[in-house]
């Protein structure tokens, strides 16, 4: 008996938002509106989604207007994160547009009296034999899209697509080059006033008393807002708001706060806290061999700041008991859910509308500042209030990427082949995003008069790629392993999602140790990896990167080469990286060569841009970045104290894409960080003969590693 073939299923985002008209519309003279639930964060998503729609509908991409996500009308696609936008929004749009096309072809067939199979669509004009023609726009009155999408609609085959799969110029770039207001920071609303919020310097301190006298005297002041430990000012200009805030600071009294860990003993701190322990995966060997030796290695990743180039910003305007919020949050519906909890309002009373901000690379203060604006706007008499955080607050009060201590023990046989592998992670959770719990995740919610407890970050489930455990299960074919995650139940340093979650740390650890074992065996690190990988796509990216970098170049004094590989979340993009470094007093990364497989690359240049950006950001993390603190406060609150890679320090980056048009596309934004991190560390070993296992790889860390080794 043969099993029945499974019923065709809708893409997840379309199943959750099946109404076709919520995704696609035809307006005015020859315009197409496309409304995704995902948002532009500088990754080029709106362009890639426009390409997909243009292809399925057979319209010129210039006709497409991409609508910004808003809870007023957009499909609810959760959060724009995890390199899932192409996967979720892209598939939904491809399917929805394919069905819209079919519906219009049927209507055209009826109107023109021509069989639908004989009709063709070119730039929205539908024509058939005998020179008959109509168009989407002529038929728009007859074709209702207020229908739920049907499963089983077949989109174009890869070979039939002419826009997706090709590099097109991003639709948002001209505005940004010609300074046409596109960022939330640049939008002027009528009667706009400006807010600033008072935040403590000391970590975890609560406002206990406030002398408002000096602030009240500031010219241009509209209101001072106080709600328990939350306080802020509203003024008629940014300058006046800043002046009033300074005055408020002088009048503030704070509680003592909560102590911070020792920044120079992160492992000691992480391993001494109460934890929730989860066994992520185990694999048992068929036959147990005896270990000739066991290596135990510990890898540390520090807290890393999102350090968006723009401070977070939001606007809010009350109208009776309804509020409209403008935000660069990655999830408008999720933010609305948290606002509803804090404000004790039904979600329908709140509209949350997206506007672009600067790149955020995860959960920064975008959502926090939205609640700040909502709370301050209550005192603005119906005028919209714009709140912008200071650089200082952005670098100290926004969540950070969680610090990690990763310990791997590996049993080797007499030939130094791996026979056992135990990987353990100690880390705070990597996600405390809004909208996912009965309690809000927003900063001010823990400051107001009846405060909500500060949310302790958790980890997404393994099916979604996990959090601290992301990429901790080796893709390599090792005979046995145990992977364990210890999630901290305390959170003195606030953490939430930063690009790759735990993957950067785990890939760094795994790929560093594999490199060490290959060296121990005297085996080429690429050969060693290929020998342990069964997945062809994995092998292909490694071989492509090796070819492109002419692995392994002749070694010269003062230079080093390192390789690393990962498949993001073990189910996303494949990426291999080869680093060429120069090591003298400091490490300089000279060149990164990467090969990537994202399945169908919708906009190949967009993918390359994402990989280049990821590779450069990862280089910055590896060489420079570490959130600094003493026992009472975050101290890396400026670009001087939290330096990032500069133009002169940026390596050359060379990217090869393995295009696979027949394979469903996945995102590229987080594929490079892990491999680049480990490739640099392995190149440092190749150059200097020392394994640095404590990030960032600075001169001090290299000296410390040398001392440890000798």
């Amino acid at each position: 008996m043969t099993a029945p073939s499974p019923a065709p299923k809708l893409p997840v985002s379309l199943a959750a938002n099946p109404r076709l008209s919520s995704w696609v519309g035809f307006t005015g003279e020859g315009r197409v509106t496309i409304s995704p639930g995902k948002v532009e964060i500088g990754q080029g998503i709106v362009t890639a989604l426009a390409q997909i729609a243009a292809d399925e509908l057979d319209v010129d991409i210039g006709r497409i207007e991409m609508i910004r996500a808003s809870t007023a009308a957009s499909p609810n696609e959760g959060v724009t994160s995890g390199s899932l936008s192409i996967q979720q929004s892209g598939r939904a749009l491809r399917h929805a547009c394919a069905e819209v096309r079919q519906r219009f072809l049927s209507a055209a067939s009826e109107r023109l009296g021509v069989d639908a199979s004989l009709l063709a669509i070119e730039d929205g004009t539908i024509s058939g034999p005998g020179n008959v023609r109509t168009s989407y726009w002529e038929l728009a009155g007859d074709v209702s899209l207020d229908h739920d999408a049907a499963a089983g609609v077949v989109a174009k085959r890869a070979a039939e697509r002419s826009v997706a799969g090709h590099s097109v110029q991003r639709v948002d770039i001209p505005d940004k080059v010609f300074a046409r207001p596109r960022f939330i920071h640049d939008r002027a609303l009528p009667n706009l006033v400006h807010g600033r919020v008072l935040r403590p310097d000391v970590s975890g301190a609560r406002l206990t008393a406030l002398d408002e006298t000096a602030a009240r005297a500031v010219s241009g002041l509209v209101a001072i807002v106080r709600d328990g430990g939350f306080a802020g000012v509203v003024a008629d200009s940014e300058a006046a708001a800043e002046t009033a805030l300074k005055a408020l600071h002088k009048g503030a009294t704070w509680s003592v706060g909560e102590p911070l860990p020792d920044e120079d003993d992160l492992a000691g701190f992480l391993k001494s806290q109460p934890v929730e322990t989860t066994v992520i995966d185990t694999r048992t060997a068929a036959a147990t061999k005896k270990a000739a030796q066991t290596l135990r290695r510990q890898y540390i990743r520090p807290y890393i700041a999102h350090a968006s180039i723009a401070p977070s910003c939001a606007m809010a305007r009350w109208d009776g008991d309804r509020v409209h919020v403008w935000t660069h949050s990655q999830g408008v519906y999720l933010l609305r859910a948290d606002l509803a909890i804090v404000l004790k309002l039904p979600p329908e009373s709140i509209v949350v509308e997206h506007m672009e901000g600067a790149g955020c690379y995860g959960h920064n203060a975008a959502d926090d500042v939205a609640l700040d604006a909502v709370l301050l706007a209550k005192a603005a008499g119906g005028r919209p209030v714009r709140v912008q955080w200071s650089r200082h607050d952005e670098m100290s009060h926004a969540p950070f990427g969680a610090a990690m201590a990763i310990e791997i023990e590996t049993d080797l046989d007499a030939d130094s082949e791996i026979i056992g592998w135990r990987h353990a992670i100690w880390s705070n959770g990597h996600a405390a995003r809004p909208g996912r719990a009965p309690q809000p995740a927003l900063l001010a919610a823990s400051e107001i008069a009846n405060p909500f407890p500060r949310m302790i970050s958790s980890n997404p489930p393994a099916a979604n790629g996990g959090g601290g455990d992301r990429n901790s299960v080796p893709l390599y074919d090792l005979p046995a392993w145990t992977i364990t995650s210890h999630r901290l139940l305390t959170m003195p340093v606030r953490t939430s999602a930063l690009r790759t979650l735990g993957a950067q740390g785990n890939v760094f650890a795994i790929e560093s140790l594999l490199d060490e074992i290959a060296a121990l065996r005297g085996e080429d690190p690429i050969e060693f990896r290929l020998r342990h990988l069964r997945d062809e796509r994995a092998g292909d990216v490694i071989r492509a990167a090796a070819r492109r970098a002419q692995w392994k170049p002749q070694k010269q004094a003062g230079t080093g080469y390192g390789v690393a590989f990962a498949c993001y979340k073990n189910m996303g993009a494949y990426c291999a990286a080869i680093a060429e470094i120069e090591g003298a007093d400091d490490i300089r990364v000279k060149r990164l060569t990467l090969a990537v497989d994202v399945g169908e690359a919708i906009n190949p240049d967009g993918v390359i841009n994402q990989i280049e950006g990821g590779a450069i950001q990862a280089t910055s993390w590896v060489l420079k970045e570490r959130v600094r603190f003493d026992r009472t406060r975050i101290t890396s609150t400026s670009w001087t104290d939290y330096p990032i890679l500069t133009f002169s320090e940026v390596p050359a980056v060379d990217v090869e894409i393995i295009q696979r048009p027949e394979i469903e596309p996945v995102g590229a934004g987080e594929a490079a960080h892990g491999p680049v991190t480990a490739a640099i560390a392995n190149a440092v070993y190749d150059c200097l003969g020392v394994r640095v296992r404590d990030l960032p790889i600075t001169r001090d860390r290299i000296i410390a590693a040398m001392e440890l080794a000798s």
Binding site: G42, D186, I309, G357
Partner: protein
């Protein structure tokens, strides 16, 4: 408040302003010229750079008194979609950004560089942009775009 006069993108401009108020505040808050961006308020990131008498300067820490009678050019003054500056054209051709928030300041630093050095080397471009931060990692595309604009300007 005293009246401070200066040239803004080629237009004679006068504002009544506190002499200690920053140029960025006046541009964005008073004049509605939002091309220059606030990033840090301490002259460290370069998102707010404008040209003052041909030099790329941070406007977030530049008091208005120092701008009197000067020639100020913001990204709006470089060019428009109809008449783009070669740098703006090159940034589009090279798709030289991700989020683009830092781009106005980088265009200004690059324009000031090309004024004093019309055919810079790659290293000179990088050095000229070293005090502009980009968090997305679009540096190499931007450098390519500046070199492209330079060679275009040399042949036109």
């Amino acid at each position: 408040m005293p009246t401070i006069q200066f040239q803004l993108n080629g237009v004679a401009t006068a504002v009544d302003a506190d002499p200690d108020q920053t140029l960025l505040d006046v541009l964005r808050g008073r004049l509605g010229v939002t091309g220059a961006h606030f990033g840090c308020g301490a002259g460290e990131c370069g998102a707010c750079r404008v040209m003052v008498d041909g030099h790329a300067m941070t406007s977030c820490d530049m008091p208005m008194w120092s701008v009197a009678d000067k020639d100020v050019v913001t990204v709006e003054g470089l060019g428009t979609a109809k008449q783009p500056h070669p740098l703006q054209r090159a940034f589009i051709t090279e798709q030289a950004m991700q989020c683009g928030y830092c781009v106005p300041g980088i265009l200004i630093s690059a324009a000031a560089l090309l004024k004093r050095n019309p055919s810079p080397t790659e290293a000179e471009v990088r050095a000229a942009l070293d005090r502009n931060l980009c968090r997305c990692g679009s540096h190499n595309r931007m450098v390519r775009a500046v070199l492209r604009a330079a060679s275009e300007m040399a042949t036109s």
